[in-house]
Structures are given as C-alpha cells and as structure tokens.
C-alpha cells in the first residue's frame, strides 16, 4: 500500500495523468481503440527502420576507434535528435507546470512543495527518456543487426539525452519565468519548443541533401575542409558519437553528464519552481532581469526552504544575488545614498531617523548642522495609511528633507523578514511623499548589537514593543557621523 502524500504516491498520480493524456492523444479521444492505436504505432516504428537503414547502416562496420568523418556524421544526427527531444521536453514541462493549473490545490495542501516539484520534474524526465528510447530504437535496431551488440550503447545514450533534455527544458523554463514572469513564459516556452521542433524538420532535410550530394564524403574537397575545421577526435564534443559507436567509457561519461544535469534540476532548481503561479502578481524589476541573465543563479538551500515557498523569498534571493553581481543595491524605489543626503537638503532642512517596529515607529531628528540626533516621541502603529499620515505630519513640522530608515539585516548581512517589511514600508511611503529615503544598515550602529542579543533567537519575526525612540536616535546618529566624515 502506497502511503498518501509520499513520493511514490505523487509519482503514481503524475504517471496516471501522463498515461491518460497520452492514451487520449493516440486514440484521438477514444475514437480509436487502444489496440488499433498500438498497432499503428508499432507499424510506424517498423516502417521507420527503412529510413533508419538508409541513414545509418553504412556506419555499422565502423570501428570503435573512429575516424573523424564518422564522428561528424553521427554527431549531426545526434544534434538533430537532441533538438527534437528538447522541443518535446519543453512542451512537457510547460504542460505539467502551467497548463494543468493545479498549483493552487497542491500548494495549499500540507504536502511539501519541493517534494511535489521534484516528483513532477523526475516524472517528466522519465517520460521524455521513454520517448528518446522509442525514437532511437529503429536506428539502434538497424545498427545492432548489421554491426553487432556494441551498438546497443545507443539506448544508454538515448536515456542520457532524454534526461538531459528534460533538465535543460526545466532550466530554460525557469530562466524564462524569471525574465518574463509566468504568463508570458508559457507562451514563449511553447514558441521555443515549436521553433526547436521546426529546426529538427529542416535539419533532416539538410542532412538528406548533404548525404545525397555526398558532401560529407571525405573524398570531396569541401568535406575535407569541413572536417579540418572540426575539433580533434579527442575533443569531448564527440563523446556522444563515440558512445554510440560502442566506446564504454564515453557512454559512462555521457550518462553521468545527463544525470548530473537532472540532479541539478531536481536538487537545485525545483525550489525556485514553486512560485510559478504564486509570484504571478509580483513585479519583476530591472535588477531582477539582470540577475536572471546569470544562468547560474542558484536559488536554494533546500533545508531553508519551507514557509518561503513563495515569491517574496524568490525575489529577495534574486535581489541579493543582483546585489552581489553588481556590487550595488538593487533599487525598487527612489532611494538616496547616505553620502548624498547633505547635498539633497534645502537650507534649514534636517534629517529624520526612523526605527520601524511592528507596533511602534521610533523617530529621531537631527539639528540643522546635521551633527546630533535627538529622539522624538514614538508613533503608535495602527493602519499603514494612518501611520503614514502621522509620520508625514511630524516630518513636515520638523522640516525634514531626508529620511534615514534603519534596515535590520541579519548578522550575516542577509535580509530577513524584518528587512523585507522595512523595504515594503519604504516603498509604500514613497507613494505618499517625495522625501528621499536612505537605508542605514543597523549593524553599523550600536543598536544592532544591543537588539540582536535579545532578539536573535527569541522572536525573530516580532520586534519588541519599544516605548521610546532611542534606537531611532542610534540609527540617525550613525548616519550623521557617516555624513560628517563623507563631507570632511
């Protein structure tokens, strides 16, 4: 008995859906019987042996130690084959991640999302591998009959390509998702799948023309030039072709690379897949786009990933990634650097420091000379709009020309939920006022040490209900000192 919610159980669900999809496709919605459909498929498979014979039989006697001409010819077929698999894999991934539209259901259930996505991606890989083997069978058959069992290596290569194509399809889809957002990803992924598929059809034609024109025969001068331009026989690009030719070492390497890609996809990428629909409404800003261009954008520490099965986490990860890449803070709002504050103030204006808590907002103001921070009474938080009103009234009274907002980073410099809440507050505030906001890393003020000791493990999410603005004064004083040293 399979335990509900387990990996095996989820796998069975995936395979049931895939089988029924496939079955209704081949039986044209039950208008044909399954037996008829299978007979047709077998007949097509047998018929495919003829073109396969025409294309590859001449390689059957090639030795395991290959010449370059054979490697080039076989590799061209392999590239075409891979493009077809990739197109199918993209189609499959898009279908299973978007078209089914069951993410609301499964993500609102207690099943861990990473388990579901791992299963879904692995099931896709399995299905594509089956397809890969079926496609390769006529060729492998022909070669095995004509040249002996070493050609059975082709099955292993087919599986490796099926698995690898699925992994690449997942990576492309996720990359598109981060670049374009969920809605457009679905369309673009389907377009890419179609284009790659069309490339396959055209490639077949090209190969046919080349063969019949004996362009690839070494006796032709152009062919020799082409061969000369190709990498050396020892080059790894020939590994799949060598594996097909029966080289066992090459086969092991090819399969290992395929599985490695899959391992990356399942173990590393799937957590990022979770926010597919969830993140639908999130804004993808310019920095996020740039960050996404970094294909190595690794999103996960699986253990860390539980509640954060959603967009905020993803975008924060990407944002901090962007920060590392560009050495600057990605901006989501009109933001000013601490050093630029002095220049931005009009005569007579002062700087205000804010310490954002869940229940209160601590407020401090500077003097006109920007040297000393003085605490002001805290603002009790109620609703954002009311808070903002109270705050803006106070800033107006004090003639503040800039805001320094304490950013509570974790001790390792990463941004936790409190920092997120702070940034969100700043974004909201930016819609109500033109006063520029600078963030101040609280770890640079004494306040950080004091606070982190108390709060680190006790209640990360909730800030203590502070009753005075001392922390705000600490924050502002730190910033004022920086402004002073920058100006001198």
């Amino acid at each position: 008995m399979i335990r509900p919610g387990s990996v095996a159980w989820l796998t069975r669900h995936e395979l049931t859906l895939a089988w029924r999809d496939w079955r209704s496709m081949v039986t044209a919605g039950s208008r044909r019987s399954l037996t008829t459909a299978l007979t047709i498929i077998v007949l097509i498979g047998l018929a495919l042996h003829l073109p396969a014979w025409a294309m590859v039989a001449r390689f059957a006697e090639d030795s395991v130690v290959p010449d370059k001409a054979s490697l080039v010819s076989i590799s061209m077929i392999v590239v075409l084959y891979a493009s077809l698999l990739l197109s199918q894999a993209m189609e499959q991934v898009t279908r299973s991640l978007y078209a089914r539209g069951d993410l609301d259901l499964v993500l609102s259930s207690p099943v861990p999302p990473q388990r579901l996505f791992a299963v879904r991606i692995a099931a896709n890989a399995g299905l594509i591998s089956i397809m890969a083997v079926v496609l390769a069978l006529p060729f492998v058959d022909v070669l095995t009959i004509a040249g002996g069992p070493r050609w059975l290596n082709g099955i292993g290569v087919a599986i490796a390509f099926g698995v690898g194509a699925s992994a690449i399809a997942v990576a492309i889809t996720l990359g598109l998702f981060r670049l374009l957002g969920p809605r457009r990803t679905r369309l673009v992924a389907q377009v890419i799948a179609a284009v790659v598929g069309a490339g396959f059809a055209i490639g077949i034609q090209v190969i046919a023309i080349l063969y019949y024109g004996t362009f690839l025969q070494p006796s032709v001068v152009a062919g020799e030039m082409l061969l000369a331009a190709m990498p050396d026989v020892a080059n790894p690009v020939w590994l799949p072709a060598r594996a097909i030719l029966g080289d066992p070492v090459a086969l092991v390497i090819v399969m290992a690379v395929g599985e490695q890609h899959m391992g990356d996809a399942v173990g590393d990428l799937f957590p990022a897949a979770v926010p597919f629909r969830v993140a639908g409404q999130e804004r993808v800003d310019e920095d996020l786009r740039t960050a996404c261009l970094d294909a190595k954008c690794r999103m996960s520490v699986p253990g860390e990933f539980h509640r954060d099965a959603s967009s905020q986490w993803l975008s924060d990860r990407v944002m901090s990634r962007a920060q590392k890449l560009h050495g600057r803070k990605p901006s989501t709002m009109p933001e000013i650097a601490i050093e630029d504050i002095a220049g931005a103030l009009k005569p007579g204006q002062i700087v205000a420091g804010l310490d954002l808590g869940t229940k209160t907002i601590g407020v401090a103001v500077s003097d006109r000379g920007l040297s000393l921070a003085t605490p002001r009474p805290v603002i009790r938080r109620t609703k954002f709009t009311a808070d903002a009103q109270a705050l803006l009234a106070l800033l107006d009274r004090e003639n503040a020309g800039a805001i320094v907002l304490g950013l509570p980073l974790n001790m390792d410099g990463s941004e936790g939920p409190r920092a997120q809440a702070t940034r969100a507050f700043a974004r909201n505030l930016a819609q109500k006022t033109d006063i520029p906001v600078a963030f101040w890393d609280e770890r640079l003020s004494t306040v950080a040490a004091e606070r982190s000791l108390i709060e680190q493990d006790v209640s990360r999410a909730k800030r203590a209900d502070r009753i005075d603005s001392a922390a705000a004064a600490f924050i502002l004083q730190g910033a004022l000192d920086r402004i002073y040293s920058a100006g001198s």
């Binding site: 859906l17 259930s109 207690p110 969830v278 539980h306 967009s311 869940t358 999410a461």
Partner: protein, 250 residues
C-alpha cells in the same frame, strides 16, 4: 487545557501586501470558530489577496496570521492541515473522475484510504454527483466542476473552509446546493469564510459580514449592526454603498 476559550478560527493582524499599489493595507480581522463569515467588497478591495495569504499561496509583506491559534507564517504546514481553499476558478483534473479526484485530494491531506473512500462516497451522494462519479471530468459543466471542487475541499474534513466567490456563474439549483452544503458544514461546527461581491449572498448566508475596501476592513458585523453603523435601515446594498462611499470620502 489552561485556556478554556477556543482560539479564533482566523486572526489576522496588521496584514500588508503591496503589488504596484497596496492591495492589503494594515488589515485586522478575526473570525470566530464555528462562524459563517462573508468578506464583502468591491473588485480590487483585497479580498482574494488576503485569503491567498491565509492559505499560504502568497507571502505577506508584514503582519500576522493565525489559524486556530497556529501561527500560519511560522508553521504553514500545521495551518494548511486545518484549511481548505476553493479558488474562484477551481481546477479539477480533466483526466480524473470525481471519485479519483477526491481520493487524490484526501491523500494530499494525508487522509487514510478507507476513511477517504467513505467520506468521498458521502459527499458524492450529498452533492448529487452519483451518476457521474466514475466519468472523467473533462466534459463537466461549470456547476459540476464547482461541486467537485467543493467536495474536494470537504473530503479531508477541514476545520476552516475558505472559498473565493463560490457562487459565481452557477445556476440557481447548483448555487442552492452549494449554499446548503456550506450551511450544513457550519451547523456541524465547521467554520466557513467566503468572499463575495453578491450582496444577497452575504445577507442570506453569513452570520457576520466584513466589508473590505482599499485593503482595509471598513465595517463588520451582522446585517443589523451594519445598518446601524451606516445610519440607515434597508437592504445590505444600501448599507454597503453608504459604507464604501463614506470610506472613499474619508
């Protein structure tokens, strides 16, 4: 138990979520256990965003959510175990039969196979799905799909059922059935929260009504209390329009 008072089915404090503009803006909301609660509001008031945060499909920017005393942000899995979510465009698998769908949903919530089968049968009878229980869902009408999705939400016996616009697009007969099922659920001790922009539905079904506008709760109470608050008698529609207009003017 030291605490004799049952915790609220849902307690939301200072919840905020901003997309291009604030969708939910400092929302406080409490739904008592065993209550039928309707969230009413114009389009874009933040109803769906709020509920998606409650069921763990969106992360709030700030605020706290607790479900029967469980912190849904700190322990989402424990909270999800007690909840069911029916979105306004419910997804059911075309290639599964209603019976298989119910079995799958029950499995997601870890219900034992025997128990799941019994409760699936009961729900199929109750919702009049019997004749179609073993047909694939691909040919089903919207009403049928909504019923299957609703059965899916009930099959794991959640303490809190959250529905987004459950009656939109249903014919009168089906809407009636859905209402009856939900009301029976409340009588049996369950808690139901639904959003709607259909005033009559809120008026007729819910014990308490919360009016949401611009991401905040602008009024809450029974129909009588809301009428009093709006300073005029009459239908919920009058009351609602007065409240929303008052909020826009403020």
């Amino acid at each position: 138990m030291a605490d004799s008072a049952q915790p609220a089915a849902l307690a939301i404090a200072d919840l905020c979520k901003t997309f291009e503009r604030p969708a939910v803006d400092g929302l406080d909301l409490t739904v008592r256990a065993g209550e039928f609660y309707a969230l009413l509001g114009p389009n874009g008031a933040g109803k769906t965003t709020t509920l998606r945060m409650v069921v763990g499909l969106l992360n709030p920017d700030a605020g706290a959510i607790s479900v029967f005393g469980v912190d849904a942000l700190a322990d989402p899995v424990a909270a999800k175990r007690m909840m069911a979510w029916v979105s306004d465009e419910p997804m059911i698998y075309d290639k599964l039969t209603p019976r298989e769908y119910l079995e799958f949903v029950a499995g997601l919530w870890g219900v034992e196979a025997g128990v799941a089968e019994a409760s699936a049968n009961e729900l199929i009878d109750w919702l009049g799905l019997g004749p179609h229980a073993d047909e694939r869902c691909e040919g089903f009408s919207r009403g049928m799909r909504q019923k299957v999705a609703l059965a899916g939400a009930l099959v794991h016996d959640p303490k809190l059922i959250i529905l987004d616009e459950p009656l939109t697009g249903l014919d009168a007969g089906t809407a009636r059935q859905v209402k009856d099922v939900l009301q029976a659920r409340v009588h049996a001790g369950g808690t139901v929260i639904m959003t709607t922009h259909i005033l009559e539905v809120a008026e007729r079904m819910a014990e308490r009504i919360g009016v949401l506008a611009n991401g905040r709760l602008i009024a809450e109470g029974t129909l009588a209390e809301l009428s009093l608050r709006a300073g005029r008698g009459g239908s919920l529609e009058d009351v609602f329009l007065t409240l929303v207009a008052g909020d826009a003017a403020a």
